[in-house]
Amino acid sequence: MRWTALYVRSRQVPASLAAAVVSAAAVWALSGGGSADPRLPALVLVAGTAAGSIGLGGQDLALDRTAAIRWAPRRAAHTLLIGAVAAAVLLAVQATGEEAATAAFVVRDSAGLAGLAAAGAVLFGAQHAWTLPVAWPAFALFTPPGTGVPAQVATWMMQPPGTAAATWTAVVLAGGGMAAYTLAGPRR
């Protein structure tokens, strides 16, 4: 449909999609076609959601706000799409080599990171929405490894799939981020 094409272009989706694909390919090439390290697929998903988060706000917030269309369902769909596209890019890249991440891992991480990007848009605006999905994993890299629940929550995106605390953290981030963004929209 015509408006979808205009919306997608104005939200710079082609550029962020290209950025996500290029960074995924780069990470995969540098890792030598995949390894068992969970940090690599997590990094690909971080890059994908951060690139997609740019499109969570329009070019003019006042004009967007005076629009008659219903924003809420479109915002929710946009958030879901960021997670889905980031996951699809990762799955496509790792299909070329050894499989490093299971589907459960990819779904958990992409949902949680997309929720973080949405929360970032609500808190800091779309231009700076990437800070949250980048900052948390960066912080997690420097968290001393542990087996307690706080450590599992802090490093949720690198835990093996099926870790209850990590799954619940991702669920809360996905649900909370998406709900806040759907209702409030990007920060003005």
Binding site: R2, R9, A62
Partner: protein, 269 residues
């Protein structure tokens, strides 16, 4: 292009004024009350909103455009209370708004940008191409309709802004400083357009150019420190000034006469 007359066009109006504010208060930022107890009724016609810098003109227009929610008082637009928590979708379809500065996707062509805005305003799909063409022609950009936004001059961008504001044939049209960046010839053309639009819509134009008001407005609203100072015809504004007041034209003398009570407009910036 012929346009079909829809039921909404011939339905009788159920309201006396397009814009009616009573004791309206609107906050700018967290603390400052930029519109502070405004009583204002505006009907069909071109209303020039005049006032010194910082008078609250932009804040008032943003509230009328449903961008800002009033902090107090009541505001009725087209007979519908504005400022509640609802989406105001019905209302927003019938409002056109040109912000003082607006953002746009730079790789859109003029036509694509105006089309996108028409979609945001829920203009029916099959009417969009015609409405876009008409709006672009009215601002004199038909020959640049397929140029990208980033190739346009400042005055042209301003005119694209006017085109997007009128694409949905609004009943309330709010233009914040529309003549900034227009050259004298464009300004004359714009005044004609304003008079055309004002024949069947409520047009509110904020400006600090007194001569714009004299040439194109049927009604002057003088606004200072968040309150209404004067509302009447341009002749009424001119009549308020005497030879002792600052200004080069009767309207400017009237403007400074009405503002001088508060110590503004005379000597101070």
């Amino acid at each position: 292009m012929m346009r079909a007359v829809s039921a909404a066009d011939i339905a009788p109006k159920a309201y006396a004024w397009e814009i009616q504010a009573t004791g309206l208060k609107v906050r700018a930022g967290a603390k400052r009350m930029a519109v502070d107890g405004l009583d204002l009724s505006l009907g069909t016609g071109v209303h020039g909103l005049l006032g010194p810098n910082g008078a609250g003109k932009t804040t008032l227009i943003r509230a009328l455009a449903t961008v800002l929610r009033p902090a107090g008082g009541s505001l009725e637009l087209l007979g519908e209370p504005a400022g509640g928590t609802g989406g105001h979708r019905e209302l927003r379809r019938r409002i056109g708004y040109l912000p003082q500065e607006f953002g746009y996707y730079k790789r859109f062509t003029v036509r694509e940008f105006v089309e996108y805005m028409a979609w945001l305003k829920e203009v029916p799909d099959r009417e969009i191409p015609g409405a876009v063409q008409r709006a672009v022609e009215r601002v004199g950009l038909a020959d640049r309709a397929d140029s990208r936004m980033k190739t346009l001059s400042g005055g042209m961008v301003r005119r694209v802004g006017i085109a997007q504001a009128i694409v949905n044939d609004p009943a309330i049209l709010l233009l914040d400083e529309p003549t900034v960046g227009l050259d004298p010839a464009q300004r004359l053309r714009f005044r004609e357009l304003l008079q055309e639009l004002g024949s069947d819509a409520c047009v509110v134009v904020s400006t600090h150019l007194v001569e714009d008001v004299a040439a194109a407005c049927t009604d002057v609203v003088l606004f200072a420190e968040g309150r209404l100072r004067f509302q009447g015809t341009p002749d009424g504004l001119a009549a308020a000034g005497g030879p002792g007041h600052v200004g080069d034209s009767p309207l400017e003398r009237g403007y400074s006469a009405l503002l001088s009570d508060s110590g503004q407009g005379r000597g101070s910036w």
